[in-house]
Symmetry: C2
DNA sequence: TTCTATCAACGAAACGTTTCGTAGGAGAAT
DNA sequence: ATTCTCCTACGAAACGTTTCGTTGATAGAA
C-alpha cells in the first residue's frame, strides 16, 4: 500500500496529474509560479516520492521523467476515506452534508449529484 | 484563525467533542485504549493545543479541564474545504461524487442528502 | 507530619518533512 | 579541449510533530 502523500508531495502529484509525465524541471516551473522554492528542493521531493512508490520514473533520458503511480481518482478516494475516519468518525452522511453545505454549488452540479443518487438507489 | 490540527491533535479533539470538557487523565484513558502512549505525551499535546488556541482550559481546579475551542462541525468544514483545495483542485462536485461512490450508503442517508439538495435548490 | 499519589511544567530526544548547498557527470557551445 | 549549462545524487540543516523522563508542587492518606 502506498503511503499517504504529505502536503508538498500532494502538490507535486497534482501537477503530474494535470500535466502528465514530467521532468523535475517542468514540475519546478509550475511550482515556482506560486511558491518561492529551489530547484533541488523539488528534485529531492520527487526522489523521495520515487522511493516511497508514489511516482515511478523513466531514467532512459538524461532528464528523468516522472509520473504518478496512482490515478488522481484513486488518491482522492484514499484521502477522502482517511478524512472520513479521522474527522467525521466514519459518518459519510455528515461528510456529504458538510460538503454540500455551501452556497457555491451550481444547479448543474446539483443535478449531477442527483443523477448519481438515482443510479446508487437503482442498484 | 486557528491552525489546522495535526493528526494527534485531531484525535484528541475528537475525544473532547465526544466526551465534552475533560481532564488530561480522562482523555488519556480513552487514547490509551487504542494506542500505547504515555500520560505526559497527552499532557504535552494538550498544552500545545492550548497555546495554539485549539482548546481552552479551566485552571481553577488542580486538574485542568480542557475543552475544544471550535465545534466539531466547524472543524470538519475547515478540514473538508482544505482537502477540497489540496486534493480536488476545488472541484466540490468531484469530492461529493467520490464520497458517494461507495456501496455503504443506506437508503436513509440517500434520502437525507436528497432533502438537502431540495433545500439548496429552493434557495 | 511524613509518605504517597497525582498533577502541571519543562526540556530534550526521536522522528518525519521540507529545504537547499555542494559535488560530480554528461552534453552542448565556443 | 575548455567552458558553460543542466542534470542527478547526496548530506545535512531547519523546522514541526510526537514522544517521554524528570522535576517540583499540591492534596490526601497514614
Amino acid at each position: 500500500m502506498l503511503p499517504k502523500p504529505t502536503e508538498a508531495e500532494l502538490n507535486i502529484l497534482s501537477i503530474l496529474w494535470q500535466q502528465g509525465p514530467s521532468t523535475v524541471r517542468q514540475v519546478y516551473e509550475v511550482v515556482s509560479q506560486t511558491k518561492e522554492v529551489g530547484y533541488t528542493t523539488i528534485l529531492k521531493l520527487m526522489q523521495i516520492m520515487a522511493e516511497k512508490g508514489l511516482v515511478s520514473r523513466d531514467e532512459s533520458s538524461k532528464s528523468h521523467i516522472y509520473k504518478a503511480s496512482q490515478s488522481q481518482q484513486k488518491t482522492q478516494k484514499n484521502l477522502l476515506e482517511d478524512l472520513l475516519e479521522r474527522a467525521f468518525s466514519g459518518s459519510r452522511r455528515q461528510l456529504v452534508l458538510q460538503a454540500l453545505n455551501t452556497d457555491s454549488v451550481s444547479k448543474e452540479e446539483l443535478a449531477e449529484i442527483r443523477a448519481l443518487l438515482d443510479s446508487l438507489e437503482a442498484s
